[in-house]
């Protein structure tokens, strides 16, 4: 609880530039994940039935 409060306090005290750098870093990471792929390719990847069936199997294994 104390640790959570400290983290929250620290986040609250982040300066404008710190926040912008944090946001920029996260945008950049997301962009890198998608880099070189068109929107259609990303949608195809997400909806690939083979990929989906693998996820389904994994989920069943977990249960």
């Amino acid at each position: 609880m104390t640790q959570l409060t400290t983290t929250e306090k620290k986040a609250k005290e982040l300066g404008t530039l710190d926040v912008q750098n944090l946001i920029y870093k996260e945008y950049l990471e997301t962009y890198k994940l998608r880099q070189g792929k068109t929107f259609d390719e990303l949608v195809r990847m997400a909806n690939d039935p083979q990929r989906y069936s693998k996820v389904l199997v994994k989920n069943k294994e977990k249960i």
Binding site: A11, T16, Y31
Partner: protein
């Protein structure tokens, strides 16, 4: 010579502005044609509000949202609006210069929209392109107008044929429409119409749930506004100033001169800081991160 803008100067002005208005201030700044509203922004705005200690269960009493954008994804515009309303029961949108398209859509969740001197909103028509602002943009309104043009052409051709004694129908309209479908692509046309229905739906949700929630004639008002935004204005980049917005029935106010000057000064500093590479840094070619900050 004026000294270059600094983050400290931005913070000082923003806090001063927020103090004058006696409300917290959320700045959402998208840099000209290199910044556009995207769904990714929703999470970052949510995080910034949370960092400052507010969320759905610990709401802000009220909030000013200073918005500067050329627009972007209508899904983003709608979700940002819902996110903002989720953390406060009272929102005022401050538009120092412009909030176009998806930005205008976001404003539809406000209790009030305050426009700076000469500030404008725009219709939220649908346009698709690989890069915003390029001549390759196709607007749904252009398709509507082309359809009207094709009908006019047929009517004129048939009038001429009647004068010459012929009663055969002219096929100029279908020829023109076939040519348009070839150029734009039939599936694209379908996508445009679907997206327009979707944008209309989003706008209706925001207007009924928030902007006109307390109005007895909220259905009529929102229908009138949605129809105007989607169908009546001549182009996507039609500029809707205070007078047009007020005539339409939107709850707009003109900022007083001092307020307008200060809000424009904030935008000017944000532009300078972007040019200096301090904020809104480039993520990829022609796309910069937005500036998101909640000042208390």
């Amino acid at each position: 010579m004026e000294s270059p803008a600094t983050i400290e100067e931005l913070d000082r002005l923003a806090i001063e502005f927020s103090g004058t208005r006696k409300k917290p201030l959320l700045i959402l700044y998208y840099h000209e044609f290199e910044g556009e509203m995207r769904e990714d922004d929703v999470e970052h705005i949510c995080q910034e509000i949370k960092r400052r200690g507010f969320h759905r269960e610990n709401k802000l009493e009220n909030l000013d949202v200073l918005l500067h954008t050329i627009g972007g994804d209508p899904h983003a515009g709608y979700r940002i609006a819902q996110l903002i309303r989720g953390v406060t029961p009272e929102v005022t949108f401050l538009i120092p210069e412009y909030a176009f398209s998806a930005g205008t859509l976001s404003c539809m969740c406000g209790n009030e929209i305050r426009l700076g001197e000469c500030a404008v909103l725009s219709p939220f028509d649908i346009s698709f392109s690989t890069r915003r602002g390029t001549s390759g943009d196709i607007e749904l309104m252009s398709i509507d107008y082309f359809k009207n043009f094709a009908t006019d052409c047929r009517e004129q051709a048939e009038r001429m044929l009647t004068r010459l004694g012929s009663h055969n129908p002219s096929k100029v309209e279908s020829d023109l429409l076939v040519e348009m479908a070839k150029q734009v692509g039939t599936l694209n046309i379908g996508r445009f119409y679907r997206a327009r229905t979707l944008t209309g739906y989003y706008a209706e949700m925001l207007l009924l749930e928030y902007m006109f929630e307390q109005m007895p004639n909220k259905d009529d008002l929102s229908n009138k506004i949605i129809h105007a935004f989607l169908f009546e204005y001549p182009t996507h980049d039609f500029h809707m100033d205070f007078h047009i917005c007020r005539k339409l029935g939107l709850p707009v106010q003109e900022m007083i001169v001092d307020e307008s000057d200060k809000s424009k000064k904030l935008i000017s500093i944000l532009k300078q800081l972007t040019a200096l590479g301090i904020i809104c840094r480039t993520i990829r070619d022609a796309y910069k991160a937005p500036f998101i900050r909640l000042y208390m």
